[in-house]
Symmetry: none
Subunit: 538 residues, 2 copies
Amino acid sequence: MTRTEPAGTPLGDDFHLYDTTLRDGAQREGISYSVADKLAVARLLDELGVGFIEGGWPGAMPKDTEFFARAAAELPLKHAVLVAFGSTRRPGVKAAEDPQVRALLDAQAPVVTLVAKSDVRHIERALRVDVDEACAMVEDTVSFLVGAGRRVFLDAEHFFDGYAHDPGTALKVLDAAGRGGADVVVLCDTNGGQLPLQLADTVREVADRTGLRLGIHCQDDTSCAVANTIAAVQAGATHVQCTANGYGERAGNADLFAVTGNLVAKLGMDVLPTGGAAELSRVSHALAEIANIAPDTHQAYVGASAFAHKAGLHASAIKVDPLLYNHIDPALVGNDMRVLVTEMAGRASLELKGRELGVDLASRPDALTSAVSKVKSLEADGWSFEAADASLELLLRKEVAGPGEPAEPPFTLESYRVVLDHRADGEVISEATVKVHVGGERVIATAEGNGPVNALDAALRKALVPHLSWLDTVELSDYKVRILAGHPGTDAVTRVLVESSDGEREWTTVGVHANIVEASWLALCDALVHKSLRVAAR
Amino acid sequence: MTRTEPAGTPLGDDFHLYDTTLRDGAQREGISYSVADKLAVARLLDELGVGFIEGGWPGAMPKDTEFFARAAAELPLKHAVLVAFGSTRRPGVKAAEDPQVRALLDAQAPVVTLVAKSDVRHIERALRVDVDEACAMVEDTVSFLVGAGRRVFLDAEHFFDGYAHDPGTALKVLDAAGRGGADVVVLCDTNGGQLPLQLADTVREVADRTGLRLGIHCQDDTSCAVANTIAAVQAGATHVQCTANGYGERAGNADLFAVTGNLVAKLGMDVLPTGGAAELSRVSHALAEIANIAPDTHQAYVGASAFAHKAGLHASAIKVDPLLYNHIDPALVGNDMRVLVTEMAGRASLELKGRELGVDLASRPDALTSAVSKVKSLEADGWSFEAADASLELLLRKEVAGPGEPAEPPFTLESYRVVLDHRADGEVISEATVKVHVGGERVIATAEGNGPVNALDAALRKALVPHLSWLDTVELSDYKVRILAGHPGTDAVTRVLVESSDGEREWTTVGVHANIVEASWLALCDALVHKSLRVAAR
């Protein structure tokens, strides 16, 4: 893995923003990241400026092993370092001889976070060893990994419950980690049962009694994970473990975006690189897309409604002095005060986005106005351009293009037909026929596929390849579907995201329709038109 | 309005659980309660045992005026009293002559909550009066309503921001309310910018400086509304204002269910009548239905996943001692522990899951072995049962069923064909034909739909309804699609989750196939087979 600067800079090591979306966040019901998803998540977290990215449990989970291998080759991290998560050695073996521990070294991540039990009841009933052996397991494993050149953090599982029940044992486990050479001991509210005032007292007490550097890891079972995390920081913790959008088991974890928003906006702590805070909303939404979970519109700081005002009581007064009616300036976290307008559809951000995509809207206020209104209207119909830059670029190019200029598709559709047969012998057949006009000709082509979209894609390629030689290099590399609940009285629509690749670049396009095949068709066409523009520009 | 017991009993008046779902909760984007909805919400809140139900702003909102009129006639409240919300008199008029104030009396609610500005900046810039007149508006209106036999609470809007900016003015407003005869002054974090430790300090300080009875009203803009509410109670507030499921403007309000769960389970306070806490989950879901908002499965205490465990790490230990892995006994709040079946799962969690679904695997180790291997092999192919209990139940029943026992589908498929046409005029048509055997007959039926799955569902229903009379009650209520990346290229499979409802119960089934239509078909069939088993069991 390449990093352009040493770990921790430019923010230094005084405070750790530590993300565990890829490990603890993936415990959320319904989340199942592919390795490509995991790489994309890590890239976004690094762009945001998180200090540590826990990538998974190499050795225990084959997908995680592959993630660390590919990350080393493919992820040029700017801000973050990768962390491998794992367990202390098994009872009664040497750390060096425990294959689970060795796999943590093999992952080649500069940091390892070890989980260890710190509640005597878990040590005795689940682990079935005595406290001395539990402490030895911690100290041995930490010191073995430190000896092998790794930086080690210790997650003290069930710490708060354990400390309340038997503080002596809980502290012994922390001390064992400290003796082994762990840099941070992380107090985990694993069952999520804590409340902030008590939790802050405990953190203060443990800091006094151990002298160790403390971290905090909170679950949201009392709906206090964010508050507990902040209270722990105010009580002396200098390392916070969070997940994107609070994804996690049961009620979830402390939400990275709310915690960061509070640290930056309320406690005045520079926990992100310059400009990072303004990326919070964008990164939150992009990570929701990758997890294939609808963004929570009412999420603190980053939700589409987080600064949306409905109350008639306030409406006129807001115009006079908006800051009297918002707890912070929404721009600080890359959000927007207007109702039903995503950050994408604001004039300024669309202009900025255009610049990023190579479309100059600054000198064309008329085109910008028209683009803003088109994006707004499409978003109201369920389109989303947050994760579909290539479709957005096409839309913007159409707005600024003069007649006869490109942005015209290299082919036009006359019609298509898809037939799916589940035959009496149990076989399922998908067949598609397209009729298109390309290079001045009318072409009809038929192909089979393993599903309706695959068949349609195959038929279209068959029709176009003789005329568009570059088509061979383009591959559909990912395909995501989201059913969007209709407004009352309307039918649900389907949103399809298609990721394409030509071996050098990847680009994403979007299509929305009540019919999933038509939605896919729209996204497929955008993908090919986008590529043809790049070919024409050469 | 009829009450079977005087206000506040049997819990006494020492602590107020005050709900404002019908007024502040309705500020949430997308919520629009009819009068009938409002009556249904009030009935449920009363069943739960809330002490005060703020019904709306009579006079200002015609729907709210009607609600109070109908509530007086139609709502036999057992525990709660109704509260009318309104504003202090306008500047420069007498309270008795202000029509808005008179409308509050006309509503005939025994309690009135008045909102008043307590931040000098809002007083001067929005209200445009001086502090003396602002205080006179408060004192006059409170004493007028108290003189008319009402109990009065004062919501001090923007209190925390106002107190931080100019504590003198903020306290003057509270004192004016006290002089007028208000029973409670409610400190409102209207912009939602507070954090618990500071908020607790402020509440303590205000209690000392005023000697008044304090309430708390928090918004969730820092994701700390629940924590702030609890911290305020620990600092001396004895009146908490919440909304069901945290509905409210922007990021929402303090969630009634999490606040109550914390008060009961963490602080040991009897804030609900006996048995009330066990109604929290049911009432939360029912109120989500009325608001027409999908319940948040990850909501603390009451969410369907609030006690769901996925990690294989824990599953075997959970069986030994569930309370070591839950912060409370889920039954306390009327919830259930669910164990998720995932690729990490083994025998222990599948046995536990079987018990939950009413399939005894403990006494059938052979069936358990076979079920574990089947689930593992299906999960390796992309199936996921963690959100599809109904499909898992069918699978387990097949394992334990002897020959000739149920679990047999009530119909069999011969074949189906789906045709999708994108015509030259741009119209997109979906049509499906099914050939099935049901009730000893071979039936062929064709139907159109707005997409391939919708058309197939319609054709299947058309074929089966004459033979399966219960089919009419079954509805497809939600449909989710996830494309599971295989290796780059075309190995991806599609996983479909179908949620069905018969008006009484909801159940979820799963289908996996390379072809999305076939995957949907498998999930649709499971949904109907599951229902037929329930019908047969009657």
